[in-house]
């Protein structure tokens, strides 16, 4: 699969989200790639409330198999989740398990009015009934391959392919 330019995808994603926002919309990114995207989208969309960050390590479904992630970042939701219209952001949607964990974690902060999902890339391979509301690029990627969002020193985001370890 050929991947278009990351910044173009990000711009397209922002334009897809823009008309769907209301005064009650807040953005939450999933650590790490989704959090970087949430920061960018927050600026591009001119949202006033700062973006939230979720590290879903305490909600993963594979804790029993692989244990606790070696680096857990503290989740920060800087707004009241109750009755808020939340756009949950992640870089790559694959099995859907991360999104499941993130939704569960959000509900431990309160009862949102709505959660919609925005992803840069949907690579297929779903194992749960989860679909993105906003998606900049769709393609089916071989299970042996991974896509990572990386951020360089100047804050520029780029999608990169690699083989699964």
């Amino acid at each position: 699969m050929e991947m278009p330019d990351t910044n173009l995808l990000l711009k397209n994603l922002a334009e897809e989200i823009r008309p769907a926002m209301n005064g009650n919309t807040c953005i939450v990114g999933i650590h790490t790639g989704g959090a970087w995207l949430a920061e960018k989208l927050h600026g591009m969309l001119g949202l006033k409330t700062p973006p939230g960050l979720l590290d879903i390590s305490f909600y993963r479904d594979d804790f029993g198999r692989i244990g606790l992630h070696p680096e857990v970042k503290r989740s920060e939701i800087p707004f009241d989740v109750d009755d808020t219209d939340i756009i949950l952001v992640d870089d790559v949607l694959h099995t859907g398990r991360t999104v499941r964990a993130a939704i569960n974690e959000l509900f431990d902060y309160g009862r949102p009015a709505r959660i919609r999902l925005a992803v840069l890339v949907d690579r297929g391979g779903r194992e749960l009934p989860i679909e993105p509301t906003f998606c900049a690029f769709r393609g089916v990627l071989d299970e042996e391959k991974m896509i990572d969002l990386v951020r360089n020193d100047s804050g520029l985001l780029e999608l990169k392919f690699r083989s699964r370890e």
Partner: protein, 316 residues
């Protein structure tokens, strides 16, 4: 005593029995993980599903309401099922040995034991005895170790002072009989604190304490000079009955932390105490409730630190 029984073949923490021998990176990992759990405890729902379905037994062979409660809250906030056994009051009095008790609970599919015992080495003994999938946390054994207390103290120091590498830390009180002091000394030196002092009357300073890398003082006024962190120890009342100490009044006069003595430390020094405090014996109420006291934050952080230890162990 086999030292590295707490590290498994993959170099991960299998049990937490003592701070001694653990690398700084492992201590920092626990403190970093605890920081994320502090976030959880500040939420509306103070619970995560991490240890759902796990059975954690608080085995307290020596009474301790406070430590048992913090472990219990920590386990519940991880969604584990926690059972408290106050063993001095039940099977031990019927003649069942400690390992018989452990065998019985293991047969009930226990996943983790939190052990408090008046005998040094009790948690080690249990850790060596249990099946490999069971984890043991030492919640205080005799005079030996109290690693989670030391870790929560380190968390508190890091929270207020950020960096360990330029600190002067004083441990004040009955160092001789204190498992807390021993674990604190190991943690502080491992994390790179350049100057650890122990302040106590000579009768309460273990011989050869310098070998642990600390500087002993029997004059509190000298010992507190320029100190950044004061770790007060609880003075056990029974020590007053022997020949080790003259009287409570005498002790308070020379080693009780009053505002006057605290003024000798750095102006931004923090005061810590593992609790429960003997007000008017090792610490004056004016200090315990004063602006430099971080004794209550210690309690709050203690829950997050125990959540971190439990979840790291359960995942290894």
């Amino acid at each position: 005593m086999q030292k590295n029984i707490q590290i498994n073949q993959h170099g991960e923490l299998q049990h937490l029995l003592t701070i001694e021998g653990l690398p700084a990176s492992m201590l920092h990992h626990i403190l970093d993980t605890a920081e994320s759990f502090v976030g959880v405890t500040e939420r509306e729902v103070k619970k995560v599903p991490l240890l759902r379905g796990k059975a954690i037994f608080n085995l307290f062979f020596e009474p301790s309401t406070r430590t048992r409660t913090t472990f219990e809250i920590a386990a519940k906030r991880l969604s584990a099922d926690v059972l408290n056994l106050n063993i001095s009051a039940s099977s031990q009095s019927k003649g069942e040995t400690m390992l018989d008790t452990v065998n019985n609970l293991s047969a009930m599919q226990a996943d983790m034991f939190i052990v408090r015992h008046s005998q040094s080495g009790a948690a080690h003994l249990i850790a060596r005895h249990v099946a490999p999938e069971i984890h043991v946390i030492n919640a205080g054994d005799g005079r030996h170790a109290h690693p989670t207390q030391a870790l929560l103290d380190m968390y508190t120091i890091r929270h207020y002072k950020r960096d360990f590498h330029e600190l002067k830390v004083a441990i004040v009180g009955d160092v001789m009989h204190s498992r807390v002091a021993r674990s604190q000394i190991h943690a502080l030196t491992t994390l790179g604190v350049p100057e650890v002092r122990v302040i106590a009357p000579r009768t309460l300073l273990p011989r050869g304490v310098e070998k642990l890398g600390v500087h002993p003082y029997d004059d509190m006024k000298k010992g507190l000079k320029d100190v950044d962190v004061l770790l007060m120890l609880r003075l056990q009342n029974e020590r007053m009955q022997g020949a080790l100490l003259p009287s409570a009044q005498e002790y308070f006069k020379y080693y009780g932390l009053t505002p006057e003595k605290l003024a000798l430390a750095r102006p931004d020094a923090i005061v810590m105490h593992p609790g429960p405090m003997n007000r008017g014996l090792e610490i004056d109420s004016a200090v315990a409730d004063g602006p430099q006291s971080v004794i209550l934050p210690q309690v709050t952080f203690g829950i997050a630190v125990r959540m971190a230890v439990m979840s790291i162990l359960a995942g290894n």
